[in-house]
């Protein structure tokens, strides 16, 4: 096997990028309108079909890091590694859809989850959610542009910065005018390319390295843990932290809620089920290349795990496949980046401008301007951050904590009429403070204080399991599952969880926000909330044909509907 990475000429890489971004841009010309509609710019027509919806959800959830991290997991943890990366990532899509159906039922014409929370609680809760969404999308943009820079610089003489700028400009170019509509349409084309390439590349590498015989022979090089499908090492270090994040990633990500509000309401379930299988199959499949590298004794070039897949493709396949791999990564990162731009623009249009600046008197034309300016600024921020290769670890830690802290308050707010704005806001803030105390060990985690955090973390564990079961099987089953998980955590986790501060802190965020939110809601003397008012308060901004399920709004002119939006 050739251990060096194949190098394209500058001209070849530029032609490949031009073909990809040029083709994508041309595709969007087919749906472009001179005067775009503000609602369509954010969520299309609320009636996106099953095929486009599933393709868009899958393409959005697969980013460049999915391949690299899955291969790294396969290389590090062996046989079960790719599963412990891809499966939990896929479940993030699966577990959100039961809640998504509830969000959609409450607010059929919403554009962001923040709008729903605004109608339920008001600005403070909504802005907490919007902030977490904005931070998440900016980080995602930066990571994707960074991946483009890294790919271009390792496979060609072009610089890292050149790759970052080309990706940023390319994505902005085709998303700027039509927003979400351009994003979902191009997602479909990008996913078809991405899947077709994955279908070819995985068996091609597998059989070029010698097929199953060589793989089985190479298993002797693995440790017993790496050779086991039920490796505890893989479960504890890769699977468990991902499992904890399953609901948090889904709730905290506007790219998901945007699709929940965009697809035809009747197709939410098949759309998200298909995306779950599609994501899992592609990501686990490409993760298998990491396992192949491990069994054949390949060492990552310069010790960088991100080189594993390019190395295997360069080593075993002809240049055509390396070009296909190049398109695979560019396609995956671009589909996620355009979704992030659409998500950010929708948040600024609806959550910031629509709800907090215009306050019910939103001008659709101005909204579009806000959306497009947001895309330009977000691209610039993403490109600058990526170019300077800033360390985003601390930012990632806080965003993860914020997402964990909002899970229970957001879900409870949509099902339980007693949750108040004060309970929502306070619970998230308290959870963030306690998360920081545990994560950065601001107090000793031995003795009484350690036990305190372990108790909160146990509640957090119960909440995660309880909510997951509740989503599919209802209140009673969820409550029983949560209680059983809590008891199991109290028995098995107390006494040792304080040694795993990352896991302890994450679970503390869930547990603390739940305890505070429940106690404050129960103590509140406010009247129970009437969920029907959400539908009245969240509507479209432009006057046009409505989605099914919003018939009662049809009789009202747009201005009257907007007046009900606070």
């Amino acid at each position: 096997m050739n251990s060096e990475l194949y190098q394209f000429s500058t001209l070849t890489v530029i032609l490949l990028l031009l073909a990809f971004y040029g083709g994508t841009y041309l595709l969007t010309l087919g749906i472009r309108k001179k005067n775009e509609d503000a609602d369509a710019f954010m969520v299309s027509n609320h009636r996106v079909g099953f095929g486009i919806g599933a393709a868009s959800m899958t393409a959005t959830w697969i980013w460049a890091a999915s391949f690299y991290a899955a291969a790294t997991s396969g290389y590090t943890y062996g046989v079960s590694g790719p599963i412990h990366y891809g499966l939990w990532g896929a479940l993030m899509i699966l577990f959100i859809y039961p809640f998504g159906r509830r969000f959609r039922k409450l607010a059929p014409n919403a554009h962001t989850l923040g709008e729903l929370i605004h109608a339920r609680h008001g600005s403070s809760s909504q802005l907490i959610l919007a902030l977490s969404n904005v931070l998440g999308s900016v980080i995602s943009l930066m990571v994707n542009f960074t991946a483009a820079g890294a790919l271009v610089s390792v496979l060609s003489p072009l610089s890292f910065q050149a790759g970052v700028i080309i990706a940023g400009v390319g994505v902005l170019l085709y998303t700027l005018w039509s927003g979400f509509r351009a994003s979902v349409l191009t997602d479909f084309a990008q996913l078809v390319a991405l899947m077709a390439i994955a279908i070819v590349i995985i068996p091609a590498v597998f059989f070029s390295m010698g097929g199953p015989t060589e793989l089985v022979a190479g298993l002797d090089n693995l440790t017993p843990e790496q050779a086991s499908l039920f490796s505890m090492d893989a479960i504890l270090n890769q699977g468990a932290p991902f499992f904890v994040a399953v609901l948090a990633y889904a709730i905290g990500n506007q790219t998901i809620s945007q699709r929940l509000f965009a697809v035809n309401e009747d197709h939410i379930k098949p759309t998200f089920l298909t995306a779950t299988v599609g994501y899992g199959a592609i990501v686990i499949g490409l993760g298998m290349i990491g396992l192949m590298a491990l069994t054949t004794g390949v060492q990552p070039l310069d010790g960088d795990m991100n080189n594993l897949i390019p190395q295997m493709v360069s080593g075993y396949l002809p240049p055509l496949f390396i070009a296909l791999f190049f398109i695979l990564v560019i396609g995956s990162l671009s589909s996620t980046a355009d979704s992030d731009l659409s998500a950010l623009s929708a948040i600024m249009m609806a959550d910031v401008y629509g709800k907090n600046i215009a306050r019910g008197k939103a001008d659709p034309k101005r909204m579009l301007l806000v959306g497009r300016l947001t895309m330009i600024i977000a691209t610039m921020v993403g490109v600058v951050f990526a170019s300077f290769a800033l360390d985003i670890l601390v930012m990632l830690v806080f965003v993860g904590a914020l997402w964990g802290a909002i899970v229970f308050p957001v879900i409870a707010s949509c099902f339980w009429s007693r949750v108040t704005n004060q309970a929502f806001t306070t619970s998230v803030l308290v959870a963030m403070v306690l998360f920081c105390v545990a994560r950065f060990e601001l107090v000793s985690l031995d003795g009484g204080s350690g036990l305190f955090f372990e108790l909160l973390a146990s509640v957090g564990g119960g909440v995660i399991i309880g909510l997951m079961v509740f989503g599919f099987l209802g209140r009673t089953a969820g409550f029983i599952a949560g209680l059983l998980a809590l008891v199991a955590m109290l028995i098995f986790a107390t006494g040792f969880l304080h040694d795993y501060t990352v896991l302890l802190a994450s679970l503390t965020a869930y547990g603390a926000s739940t305890v505070v939110c429940v106690v404050m809601s129960l103590l509140s003397r406010q009247p129970d909330f009437d969920f029907d008012t959400i539908r009245e308060r969240v509507g479209d901004y432009d006057s046009h044909d409505k989605a099914p399920g919003a018939e009662e709004d049809d009789a009202l002119p747009a201005a009257t509907r907007l007046a009900g939006q606070r």
Binding site: G49, G51, I52, M288
Partner: protein, 42 residues
């Protein structure tokens, strides 16, 4: 054992192929329906 590991690696591209076929079929159906109803696909 060899066949089992072969299956373990190749099942994922096979699944991907199945999902790809499903999505393309659904999109073509959506497009036809959108044309019939004289509305846009997205």
């Amino acid at each position: 054992m060899t066949a089992l590991y072969g299956f373990y690696v190749l099942i994922w591209p096979a699944l991907t192929l199945g999902v790809l076929a499903l999505i393309i079929r659904a999109v073509l159906r959506d497009r036809r329906k959108a044309k019939e109803e004289q509305r846009e696909l997205v």
